[in-house]
Symmetry: C2
Subunit: 323 residues, 2 copies
């Protein structure tokens, strides 16, 4: 392989099972060169649709990485190839340290059937929502049987991304007391399965009961609540079975794949909005900002003036060129 | 006052010092009715520019709320009226519990010279960046001498908002070891002042030294590093002095107020992008999404088709009407 491969060559490599090609395509998506990202999506999109995409989210510290490692081991025992895409909410302030425990997945580092990749959500606003569906398309096209999309449940972007998985697991730690109380309504919204982690701790059983009770009280459709102890391997096989059953049910009829449509929606919208955001930034002049800063014109009137002057771009307006 | 006041009446109340009017205007901003938000911004913007806007950010658990309470007390001793706008990164998953310790500010609950308000960053993508500058405009227009904008340093949105404050304090807890190491480059980027909290703990002095060393090693402009112990009241007066000096230096020449311009930029851009995002969502058809989900068309080509069909809106296209 030449040092500089074209996107087409990389996609050919990906189809042939070359993991370095997967890594390089994901790097192209993360780097965000618009022409190259477009080419990656164009070439990968037609060969997607086979992978089971499982979302895993929850507040920091609930044990997502340990649970992820347990899930990966269970899928591997079924002979399935697994990719883990961990969305890292690194900001300039945390530098990704929050998810340093991603290291737990290193148990699978020598297994060729497991591919782990972190992507930072830092970068421009909406960067996560923009890049994650593209990355999922690459991993789906690469032929992984399961793609685990791990996000931290802080911030709307992560929640929106989790919503495009075929099925989403929300991890809850036992004994969070008031925090669980406060979170309940929302937890029940985004999860297809609720998983109480650290099942050996006192309070795990009570948290399971509280979550079930909250659903009854709210008159909600019952979301399964499972209890796992990932370190001891307890409850993981059951969780894997529930996930597969849910996914099969949802995707049985190819004409009714709501999550495929949700992924398409997120992807198309974010591509279009990113293009428009670039045009807005290009069109904003220092004069206009000075006028706003001085109070001569209010921000809404300034935005109106901007929009009136804007020619509509296509998505690659000003592209750095396709690879 | 009638039960349903117009925005103009509320702004008149705000100028007359009516705190209920402040609360109701902030609720209008948070609710997000586009016509009303526009009216709030139109009427408040011309009377802004006087408040000292201080950003306070840092990872969860570093003691931001305790520091905020100490800063508020110090400003009050100077006879200044203070508003605290706490941006709460509540997602459906955390329900705001993360910042439940906002309760520490209740020490000031009976002081008429202090106004505390939390705003959730949940809602549509870009919701925080969109709403926070509007809320700052309301508090500035209300005549507060200082507005403290408190955000959690997780996620790009919060960082971007902190960047529009006149001066930003980044709080760092002592003894975070590797986490501090990893965070250094970024911390030095967004903070105008670095504040090592919990200054009574062993390791505080070392963290101060590490932060100063990192700046020297990086050849960076020296950002002041202070050590505080907010509970004992140590270091707070010094911090307040440094903040005021920085702010005076920056804002001495009205023609050169970079942060005022940054606020204007964020506000104008997010207003324009929100309008465009709505139009994109309205223009996306089920047919187009099905074609993408089936693989008949790739997401970039779909976005291009969408943008080509789009007529440019103004910012209130489809507004629910002004109050």
């Amino acid at each position: 392989m030449r040092t500089v491969a074209t996107v087409a060559e990389l996609v050919a490599g990906l189809r042939a099972g070359d993991r370095r090609a997967v890594a390089r395509l994901l790097s192209l998506v993360e780097d965000g060169d618009r022409g190259r990202v477009r080419r990656v999506v164009e070439l990968c999109h037609p060969i997607t649709g086979r992978a089971e995409i499982v979302g895993l989210t929850g507040a920091p510290g609930v044990g997502k990485s340990t649970l992820a490692s347990g899930l990966v081991a269970a899928w591997r025992r079924q002979g399935r190839e697994v990719a883990v895409l961990a969305i890292d909410p690194s900001s300039p302030l945390t530098g990704g340290a929050l998810l340093g425990d991603r290291i737990r997945l290193q148990a699978h580092a020598l297994d060729d059937g497991v591919y782990v990749r972190s992507m930072a959500s830092r970068g421009h606003l909406g960067g996560l929502a923009w890049a994650a569906p593209h990355a999922l398309a690459v991993l789906d096209a690469a032929g992984f049987d399961v793609v685990l999309l791990e996000t931290v449940g802080v911030g709307q972007g992560e929640v929106e991304v989790a919503a495009v998985a075929d099925v989403t697991v929300v991890a809850v730690a036992p004994g969070m007391g008031d925090a669980v109380q406060a979170a309940k309504a929302g937890v029940l919204e985004v999860g297809d399965v609720l998983c109480v982690t650290k099942g050996d701790l006192a309070g795990a059983e009570r948290t399971v009961a509280e979550l079930e009770e909250a659903q009854r009280d709210g008159g909600l459709v019952r979301t399964p609540v499972l209890r796992t102890n990932a370190i001891a391997g307890e409850g993981i096989a059951e969780l894997v079975d529930v996930l597969s059953a849910l996914r099969d049910e949802r995707c049985a009829d190819p004409a009714h794949r709501p999550r495929h449509r949700a992924r398409a929606h997120l992807q198309v919208r974010e591509i279009a909005v990113a293009a428009l955001r670039r045009r807005v930034d290009e069109a904003i002049t220092g004069e206009l900002l000075d006028a706003v800063a001085r109070g001569d014109i209010d921000p809404y009137a300034a935005a109106d003036r901007l929009l009136a002057d804007l020619d509509l771009p296509d998505t690659t307006g000003g592209s750095e060129g396709a690879g």
